[in-house]
Each structure stands twice: as structure tokens, then as C-alpha cells.
Amino acid sequence: MAGLELLSDQGYRVDGRRAGELRKIQARMGVFAQADGSAYIEQGNTKALAVVYGPHEIRGSRARALPDRALVNCQYSSATFSTGERKRRPHGDRKSCEMGLQLRQTFEAAILTQLHPRSQIDIYVQVLQADGGTYAACVNAATLAVLDAGIPMRDFVCACSAGFVDGTALADLSHVEEAAGGPQLALALLPASGQIALLEMDARLHEDHLERVLEAAAQAARDVHTLLDLVVRQHVREASILLGD
């Protein structure tokens, strides 16, 4: 039996997209009233929810407070029903710790933390359904939530994954494509400046190909930015109508 053909001769991927195309993105801001900021995003079948509290006083040990900037605290979790197989995912397992850490690094680079010294910003992200590119969905959701909370940032942080199949870079991998085992790269970008907030890859990829994959991921991240920007503008417009301005 032949394996799955990830990219056909005609240039279509398994789900019918072309190499550089994103999955359908839908997003909403301000989904919870209690939180300071919240957002929900769907990238294809990957669905994530982000909630932001803060900036507020340091909870717990005061010793953690940073004298010159705010502490960014990120927690990642995924729902038991997020994958095909129902599985209990306890808090604090290796995978979610790592993801939390990555999110923290990403947002420390984007949030203007020096404006709120000795305080704390909490970002909670939960993946409701996982179909590839969970990191990217989390970052994008969290960006919207942080914006919703009104916390000043340098820029949007837009993330996207990219893979490499038969000499072609594929943007925004779905679960099937991830599972096929090729190299996968996750990139979080500050689109206006083109600065990279986080770049992560844990497979072998030859140096010669890196640039192309990186460019594919960056282009995809810029496309994500265009969409998120629309969502934010729409949200602000609705909010301003409600406020009666």
C-alpha cells in the first residue's frame, strides 16, 4: 500500500490546499466577561481559547516579582476531547510545561512588560480541538486576548507552522501532514518589524532548505496578521457601536 501523498503533482495537498495556503481562520474577541481579555480562534479544525488576566499584583510569593518589568505567566492545557482519542491530560505534564514556556518567551518578547514593573500578567490557553499547529493557534488566540485586555504590545504576534515535503515548503500543517513525520517548524513573528519572537524546530532539516521553509512560515504569519487585524478592527467597531460613540 502506498503511503499518503502529501503533495500531488498538480500541487494540491491532501485537503485540497496549495502549498502556501492557510486553513480557514475564524476568530472572536471578548468571549468571556469576567476575564480582562479573552479570545477564541479556529484555524481549520484546530480550536483554541485564550484568557488573559492582568496586569495585577504578584500572586503567591512576592519574591517572584521583577523590579523592572511585569512577569508573564503562561499556562497551556488541552481538553480531554481535543484529539480523536479521549485522553486525560493532567496539568503540569512535560508537553504543556514546554508549551507554556514557549508561549511565555513569545509574549515576553511582544508585550511592553517594562510599563508594569512588579506586576503579573496571566495568559491561559486551552486547546479545545487539536488538528495540527496547536502552538500557532495558541499564540494567535493569546494575541487577540492580550489585545482585548488592552495590554500594550509592540505589535501583533502572529504564528504559523511550516513543513517540508519533496522539496516544497508547506504552510500551516494539518494533523495528517504533521503525522507524516517530516520536519516541522513553528514561527512566531512580529509582522510590522519582521522580528522573530520565537522559532522552534525539533527535526533535522538541511541548512539549504531552512531559508525556504522559514520564508513560507513568515509569509503565512503575515497572512495570519492580515486576518487578525480584520478581526480586531471588526471587534473595536462593534464595541464602539455598543458604547454609543
Partner: protein, 959 residues
């Protein structure tokens, strides 16, 4: 531009698992017709012609495109590949189904699609908004696909009508499924079966022969009785394999006996590695190389491999009873321990059919359109084909593909593919043996040639980067006469400190073949240059192989040098690798070099250099043999060709001179040095060559044979084998030692390339070296090109590239190289055999001395040292009473009447060309001495021999 519809697909895998996948439907997929305004510009690559100029079909005179369904594509690929068939729409649904069902057909379809002339277009219907269909309740996957194909066909017809009203362009649906066709016609789609359509192409009647004849399910059982038991369905086989009732393996038919085959069981368990199948019914329609499932028979039915040589000669179907008789013949009484696991084929897991070369055996009935085809490969059964051109195809080599093998048929059904040419003609025969051994031999494509350097070529400043100038050194090359692809040159000089500097300079092929381009891919595919008797099939284009890379004398050439500093007892003090430029001072033949070394009055630089090399080589060789390297022997022959007709006029065994071994010694040294270096640098992905030690059982023949001569051969280590071979001399029989060495060669395993990260046994048994690779012949072996690249990276002379450091890719390359090398060897042997035949054809009948190499149940295999020729002398003939044969496996000996034959006995045989079978003209040998009444032929009345076989055959028909 993105119309997205998300939907759910549920599948079961093991437990219940819900799989959710997105499936995007698009509206930007073009129909592929050039000039279609509705989907303007959306098609790239090869597209359909706007006004197809197809061969006139009487069924549909208007211009039209074809749209075949999966089964048509799978079975009638030979027809579709014909240049007459153009403008075909291949649906994605169809392509996916083909991909899942047959990898070779899928590859062929892709090749056709990529051919611009053919105007094949792949339409991604599954992602098109209007042609996507969802599986309905109660509809199975096959029905859904059929419906999807019909929907696409319908859409195409409507779409093309929209394109322009007066356009008569039609899409014709081709299917062999009757129900599907009816439904299509109901829906208003013009549909035909493949046969109907091809028959309507009045301009191309020859296409009909290429149609695969598929018996329809209905009449399969009607005619004739059922010979074979049914194959079990795949699901049952898989269950059986899982539970252990069946075993999965590769079916290997016996070359010598068509009623016998072995199955090599895949898997790790040591026992039952090989299973014997005997008898037509147990073989159950498996063809050589198929993956089959077998069931072991109870021990009481186990048999021993028969040593009988048996060829299929039946003419028609009715002789099934006769087969049974023959099968009985195989089951002679044998001792209990000879019995091997025996089984029968219960089902086929995967067919590995390919097109076969061979000849037509014309049917006796003149008007018959059904004929039997006899493949050149004896392991392939004969194939029944239907053709109207039997009389033109007679006596020609043709290619035939198998279509199927129904249960009631003695032979598989097939169809004619291609006519190669007259039998016996050198070009045809060469073509056949290249095809049969899967040697890529087409001329290099334009794409490949475009990567060659532009002439006139010279070394530029850029080339000199990272390169050492060694043009001042006195370098020379030593090769066989007439060699134009010189890939190695040597030098040796004394240094000021009294040590010797020895350099091996290898053509820098990797400078010209850059990784990844078409030239590189083509060379990688070919893997090796194939040397046939009168022809060389190059691995790289001639410009490189015989000019720019060839280290000819008196021109500047790029090289990769391996330079050692040695003391006078040939110990390496320093090793250096560098890319270089050299200027060879002389290209010598082995004989010329030998003359220079031997003649005392020559004192020039080249000669002193050669003498130094020769001295060192002798020491190196001695050291190597002390370590346990084997010196084996195989009879090699060289033909002296007529310069004009290229017919062989003389045959001569290759002579070995000191200089041969001198060059060889330094090549081995260079290979070992390079192997160490690249393994040191790339422990995970060095391309190396290993030669595994043979299992002790392989030596049985050798030990037994030696014992019969009261000699002892020790086989526990390579060293003891080498020593005992050296000791095995007989004063009265000087050739015995050579014979033993020839036998020892047959016991060896095949040396193979491998990737160091995928294996942990690196040992080279024959050379007694812990590590080895191939570095010295990059012009004719691709492995060396890879090794050059690795070494260049290791010394920083070149940059790396992704595939080089991917051990799985490297393992794939090794796999291909091993296959190509094996095939090249077989092709070379076949070429020698063919030329030997030509030689004996011109020479007539000769009697020669020979030695017995093996003893079989009804024959002896002899070797004629004078011609290096091996042949079989049969003692059983069809038309003669069988002599009394007693075979003893223990000693190996064969007693015929009152004469006993042992291995290594000297006999005298008569050699002649037997052309009774046009397809397999062969050298026939018969015994002259010792004389056995009724068996051997008296040496004097040779002329009375019945040589004209065809007459004999005719007589048989009349009976």
C-alpha cells in the same frame, strides 16, 4: 479564492477512532483544455489540445477527449502509452485508486502525464466545487468513485459545451464495467468499452494487439476444466499470516525445473527460511518474484529439491495429465534428512509482473490468433497472447505483458507490447539482454546533457580553488588495452628523507556531476557502467567518461589524489587527501608497463616510478595475504573481435600480469584509506562496502569435493581457508588448485554497499579488511561519486548538501546500486554467453578437455579451461532410453552404467551450438571420454550427429 467546506470522515482503525479531516473545495481548478475561457489561465503544465487531431474513430468522428476509469488505466496502460492515444483526462479519483493498487502502473501514468506530446491532463476532481461527490448512505467506496468519475465526465461535457456553442468537442468515457457504462449512457455521457474504442480506431489496427485480454467474470468458469484451486482473498491471507497458518514470502521459480520453486520467507525467525513448492497445482499460478502466501504441507508430504532438469515443452492445454506424470517423476525416494519444508501457494499478496522479452511459439493451427509466447527468462511461464500479426512476429524478439491467469488456464494470458527485432541479430540480442536485466540504456536525454560543461573546456581560476597543482609529478596510468575511461593514475617518488611518496590519482568526476541535477539523477539511476562484449553502456555521458574525466596522458585533468608517505617496507607514515590537477605523462597498458619494469636498460622517470610501485605492491600484497585475504579465481575470457563485423574471432582467457596486481594493490589501499577517513568524519552516513562471511553450509560443496581428492579445506576463518587453499596442490594435477579456487568463489556471498549508520558489521571478508569502500572508479560506478563527495566535504574542499547527510536516502542509493551491480554482472555474463555462441557457431564442432565442477542427478557441469566456458552435459534425452543413473549426494558422484563421475574428474567433451530452440540457442556439450556405450559419442563420427534440431521438432508435431 478559497471555498471551504468542512465535513467529517469517519474511519475505523483498530478500535473506534473518529478522524476529522478538512476537505477544501475550490473553484480555481482549470479543465485543462487550452484556450478555455471559462477557467482562463488556471491550467499549468501539459494541457489538452484545443482541437484534438485524434486518429479517426468510426464510433465518434468528432474531436474528443478520453476519460478512462480506474480499471482501464490499470489494465490497458500499454494502449494508453501508445503515441496514437492523446488528449486523455486522468481524474484524481482514478489516479489515487491506481496509486493504491499498482505502483508500477502509477509510475508509468506519471511518466505519460509528464510527456508534453501526449497531452494527458490530470484533473483534480475531488477538490473541484462542482465535481465533488459525497458518499451516500449505503454506497460503498467503489460505487462512490464510479459515480464521482461519471459526475466529472458529465461536468466536462457540459463545461466544454459552454466553451463555445458550435464546438463539437466531446469527452468520451471509457470503461470496461458494463453496469457503469449503462449508467453513464443513461446520464447522457458518451461511453464505450476500451475494446470498442480501440477497435474503432481504423487507422491504428496494431493497437488491438496491445489490448489486454481480460476474461469477463461470466465466462471464466465455462470453458475447460479448472486446473488450479482458488486464490484466497487478501483479508483471509492477512489473517492467516497473522495467526501463523500461512507464511508470506517471495516466490522464486527454479530456472532448471518449471515444476519447482522456492519461497523465501520474509521475517526474522531462523527456521523455515525457504519453502519448496513442487508441482503445477501447488505453484498455483504464482509467477517468479510475486509475493505469495504459502501453507506448509504436513511432514509426510515433504519433498527434497529434485536435481532433475526439466523444461516446459507442452504445446496445448490438454496435457495436464502428463504434467502429473512428470510430477511423479520428481518424487523419487530420498533419505529422510534431505526433506525440506514443502508447501503450496494459497494466495497472491502482490503480483510483480513486468513486461517480458521472449519469442512467439506460433500455434500449429494456421488461422489461430491465439499463440503461446516463450519468455527468454526460463523462470517465467509461457504466456498465451492473441495477435493477428503472428507471421510477422515469428522469429522475432518481442515484449509481452501478462494480464491475468484464470483458474482454468494452463498458461497466463497476456498481450503483445513491442517488437524488438530479428532473433540472433546482435543488436536485437543486446537489446534483449539489456531489457531482461533492467539496464537503463537509452541515450542520455537533453536535460541530462545540458549539465555537461561547454566545450572547449579548460581549467579556470575558479577550478583551482582548494586544489593542489601536481602537474609537475611524474604520473602515469596503467589500464587494459583499448581503455578510454581511465579513472586512475599513479606515481611514486623518493623523498629527501629517504621515504617514498606514493600517490593514487582518481578522476574528479564529482567536480562535473553536481548533486541533484538531472545528470546526477541519471547517473545515480544507472549506478554503474555496464561492459558488454562489444559495447559499453556508460553511466555518464561520453564527453565526461572518455574525455574530460578520463586521465589521458599529456593533458591537464582534475583529479582527487590520495597521497601516502611510506617507508621502504610499505608502512604508511602519513596519508593526505587533496583535490588536484595532474598531467599524466604516459597511459600504459598492463603489458607495456610490465615490459618497462622488466627491461633492465630503461631508466627514465616513469620506469623508476613503476618499479618503486611494483616493489611496494608486492610487500602490500604479502601483508594482505598474511592477514587472511583470499585469492580466488574465476575463469574470465576475452574475445578478439573482428574490427569490422564485430564478430568474435578468437577466445582467450585473461592473462594476469604483475602489473595488474600492482594497480589493484594500490587501489585497494586507496579504498581502505578513504573508507577510514570518511567513516571517521561521517560515522552515521558513510557509504561503505562490506563482504559478509558466508555461512558454513555454503562451503559444503567445496569441502566434499576436496575430500574426494583427499584434500582438506578448512573454512572456519578466511585465513585458514586461504592457507588450506594454498596447500591444496596435487603434483599430478596442477589445475586442481585453480578448480578449487573457482569452487570457493561460488561459495562466497555477494559484496554489498551499505550506509554506515544502518549497519554495524563492516567487515570485508574477501579482502580481510575491517573497513572498505569504493573510491577509485567514479567514472563507472556511482558509489565512488558519493564517496568522492563525502571525502571532499571531509577535507573541506567542497560543500555538503542535504541528501548526502540523510542516511535513509543513502540507504536507498545503496539499495539501487547493489541491484544495478548485480544486474550488470548478469548482463555481462549473458553477453559473454551470447558471444560464446557466436564464436562456436563460426567455429563448428570442437572437442575439448574439461573438468567436472558439479555433479547433478542427471547431468554433470563441466568447465573447459581453454575457453573458460562452463556447460552442462545431460545424460537423459527425450528420445533415447534412459541410462542407469545412480546419484550419490554424499560424495558427490554420479554413476552411469558402470562409469563413476566425481567432481574434478577430467573428461573430454564435444562442444557445438544447439539451435533447435531458436530462442535459447545454447552451447550443447556431450561426452566423448570416458566412453560409455550408448551415451558418449565416438570422437570420429562427429559429422553424423544429428545437429539439425528443427527437423526433429517437426517430426514431433506430425505425431
Amino acid at each position: 479564492m478559497l471555498k471551504s467546506k468542512t465535513f467529517l470522515k469517519k474511519t475505523r482503525a483498530g478500535g473506534v477512532m473518529k478522524i476529522v479531516r478538512e476537505h477544501y473545495l475550490r473553484d480555481d481548478i482549470g479543465c485543462g483544455a487550452a484556450g478555455c475561457t471559462a477557467c482562463g489561465g488556471a491550467h499549468e503544465g501539459p494541457a489538452l489540445e484545443p482541437q484534438p487531431q485524434d486518429p479517426a474513430s468510426s464510433l465518434c468522428p468528432q474531436p474528443h477527449y478520453l476519460l478512462p476509469d480506474t480499471n482501464v488505466l490499470l489494465h490497458q496502460i500499454d494502449v494508453l502509452e501508445d503515441p496514437a492515444i492523446r488528449n486523455v483526462i486522468v481524474l484524481q479519483t482514478v489516479l489515487q485508486e491506481v496509486r493504491n493498487r499498482s505502483a508500477p502502473v502509477y509510475k508509468r501514468i506519471r511518466d505519460v502525464t509528464n510527456n508534453q506530446e501526449k497531452h494527458f491532463y490530470t484533473f483534480t476532481n475531488e477538490h473541484h466545487r462542482e465535481t465533488y461527490v459525497e458518499q451516500e448512505q449505503g454506497e460503498n467506496a467503489n460505487d462512490r468513485n464510479d459515480r464521482a468519475i461519471r459526475v466529472a465526465a458529465k461536468w466536462y461535457n457540459e463545461h466544454l459545451k459552454k466553451m463555445s456553442a458550435d464546438n463539437q468537442l466531446q469527452v468520451i468515457f471509457i470503461t470496461n464495467d458494463r453496469k457503469n457504462k449503462e449508467k453513464a449512457v443513461e446520464e447522457g455521457i458518451p461511453a464505450f468499452t476500451c475494446e470498442e474504442y480501440v477497435k474503432s480506431l481504423t487507422a491504428n489496427p496494431e493497437l488491438i494487439d496491445r489490448l489486454a485480454c481480460l476474461s469477463e467474470e461470466g465466462n471464466e468458469i465455462e470453458s475447460g476444466k479448472i486446473i488450479f484451486s482458488e486464490h484466497l482473498p487478501l483479508s483471509k491471507l492477512q489473517q492467516g499470516i497473522k495467526s501463523g497458518t500461512y507464511l508470506q514470502g517471495t516466490f522464486r521459480a527454479s530456472r532448471e525445473n518449471y515444476l519447482e520453486a522456492t519461497v523465501w520467507i520474509h521475517g526474522d525467525n531462523e527456521e523455515n527460511k525457504e519453502i519448496i513448492l513442487q508441482g503445477l497445482k501447488h505453484l498455483n499460478r504464482a509467477v517468479h518474484e510475486d509475493i505469495v502466501a504459502v501453507e506448509l504441507l504436513p511432514k509426510s508430504q515433504w519433498v527434497a529439491p529434485s536435481s532433475v532438469v526439466l523444461h516446459d515443452e507442452g504445446q496445448n492445454e490438454d496435457d495436464v495429465e502428463k504434467e502429473e506424470e512428470r510430477e511423479q517423476m520428481l518424487k523419487t525416494a530420498v533419505s529422510e534428512k534431505m526433506l525440506k519444508p514443502t508447501g503450496r501457494v494459497v494466495g497472491i499478496i502482490k503480483r510483480n509482473w513486468r513486461p517480458y522479452c521472449g519469442m512467439l511459439s506460433k500455434s500449429d493451427i494456421k488461422e489461430s490468433r491465439r499463440h503461446l509466447f516463450t519468455p527468454a527468462d526460463k523462470r517465467i511461464p509461457r504466456i498465451r497472447i492473441e495477435t493477428r500479426q503472428a507471421s510477422t512476429l515469428e522469429g522475432r524478439r518481442i515484449i509481452v505483458a501478462i494480464d491475468g491467469w484464470p483458474r482454468n488456464s494452463r498458461y497466463p494470458n497476456g498481450h503483445f507490447v513491442k517488437n524488438l527485432g530479428d532473433v540472433g541479430e546482435k543488436e536485437t540480442e543486446t537489446e534483449v539482454l539489456l531489457l531482461e536485466h533492467d539496464v537503463p540504456h537509452q541515450p542520455f536525454s537533453q536535460a541530462v546533457l545540458s549539465f555537461l560543461p561547454k566545450m572547449p573546456w579548460s581549467i579556470t581560476e575558479k577550478d583551482m580553488k582548494n586544489r593542489e597543482d601536481l602537474r609537475h609529478l611524474c604520473i602515469c596510468s596503467v589500464d587494459p588495452p583499448g581503455c578510454t575511461d581511465i579513472d586512475d593514475a599513479l606515481h611514486c617518488r623518493e623523498l629527501e628523507n629517504g621515504n617514498l611518496e606514493v600517490g593514487v590519482h582518481i578522476a574528479d568526476v564529482s567536480h562535473f556531476i553536481r548533486p541533484g541535477n538531472a545528470l546526477d539523477q541519471e547517473s545515480a539511476r544507472r549506478g554503474t557502467t555496464v561492459y558488454l562484449c562489444e559495447k559499453r553502456i556508460d553511466m555518464v555521458p561520453e564527453l565526461l567518461s572518455s574525455n574530460l574525466c578520463s586521465l589521458k596522458c599529456d593533458v591537464d585533468r582534475l583529479a582527487f589524489s590520495c597521497i601516502w608517505e611510506m617507508n621502504h617496507s610499505a608502512e604508511i607514515l602519513k596519508t593526505k587527501f587533496t583535490k588536484s590537477v595532474i598531467n599524466s605523462k604516459a597511459s600504459l597498458t598492463y603489458a607495456e608497463a610490465q615490459l618497462r619494469i622488466d627491461s633492465a636498460n630503461m631508466r627514465d622517470d616513469i620506469t623508476t616510478s613503476l618499479r618503486g610501485l611494483n616493489k611496494l605492491a608486492k610487500i602490500l600484497k604479502k601483508k594482505r595475504i598474511e592477514k587472511g585475504a583470499l585469492t580466488l579465481s574465476s575463469p574470465e575470457v576475452r574475445f578478439h573481435m573482428d574490427s569490422e563485423t564485430h564478430d568474435p574471432i578468437d577466445l582467450q582467457t585473461k592473462e594476469l600480469r604483475e602489473t595488474n596486481s600492482m594497480v589493484e594493490e594500490f587501489m585497494l589501499l586507496a579504498n581502505i584509506s578513504v573508507a577510514k577517513k570518511i567513516h571517521e568524519e561521517f560515522s552515521e552516513h558513510a557509504l561503505l562496502r562490506k563482504h559478509p562471511a558466508p555461512p558454513p553450509s555454503n562451503y559444503e560443496i567445496l569441502v566434499k569435493a576436496a575430500k574426494s581428492r583427499n584434500l582438506e579445506i578448512k573454512t572456519d576463518t578466511a585465513k585458514s581457508l586461504a592457507e588450506s587453499l594454498d596447500r591444496a596442490e596435487s603434483p599430478t594435477f596442477p589445475y586442481l588448485n585453480t578448480l578449487l579456487r573457482i569452487l570457493a568463489t561460488r561459495c562466497m556471498m555477494q559484496a554489498v554497499y551499505f550506509c554506515s549508520g544502518m549497519d554495524n558489521d563492516f567487515h570485508h571478508y574477501g579482502l580481510a579488511s575491517p573497513i572498505y569502500t569504493h573510491f577509485t572508479s567514479p567514472i563507472r560506478r556511482y558509489a565512488d561519486v558519493i564517496v568522492h563527495r563525502l571525502l571532499a566535504v571531509a577535507i573541506g574542499a567542497d560543500c555538503t548538501y542535504p541528501e548526502l547527510t540523510d542516511k535513509h536516502k543513502l540507504a536507498d542509493i545503496c539499495k539501487n546500486l547493489n541491484y544495478r551491480h548485480k544486474m550488470a554482472q548478469y548482463a555481462q555474463r549473458a553477453s559473454v554467453a551470447f558471444h560464446t555462441q557466436l564464436f562456436f557457431k563460426s567455429k563448428g564442432i570442437v572437442s575439448e578437455e574439461a573438468y567436472i565442477l558439479f555433479v547433478r542427478k542427471n547431468a554433470i557441469v563441466v568447465l573447459i579451461p581453454k575457453y573458460g566456458l562452463e556447460g552442462t552435459v545431460f545424460f537423459e534425452e527425450k528420445d533415447k532410453p534412459n541410462p542407469r543413473l545412480i546419484y550419490d549426494d554424499e560424495i558427490p558422484s554420479l554413476k552411469i552404467e558402470d562409469t563413476v563421475f566425481h567432481v574434478f574428474d577430467k573428461v573430454k567433451v564435444k562442444i557445438m551450438l544447439d539451435s533447435s530452440n531458436l530462442q535459447h540457442q545454447k552451447i550443447r556439450m556431450s561426452l566423448v571420454e570416458p566412453q560409455i556405450p550408448g551415451i558418449s559419442i565416438p570422437p570420429d563420427n562427429i559429422s553424423n550427429m544429428n545437429l539439425n534440431g528443427p527437423e526433429k521438432k517437426k517430426m514431433k508435431f506430425e505425431k
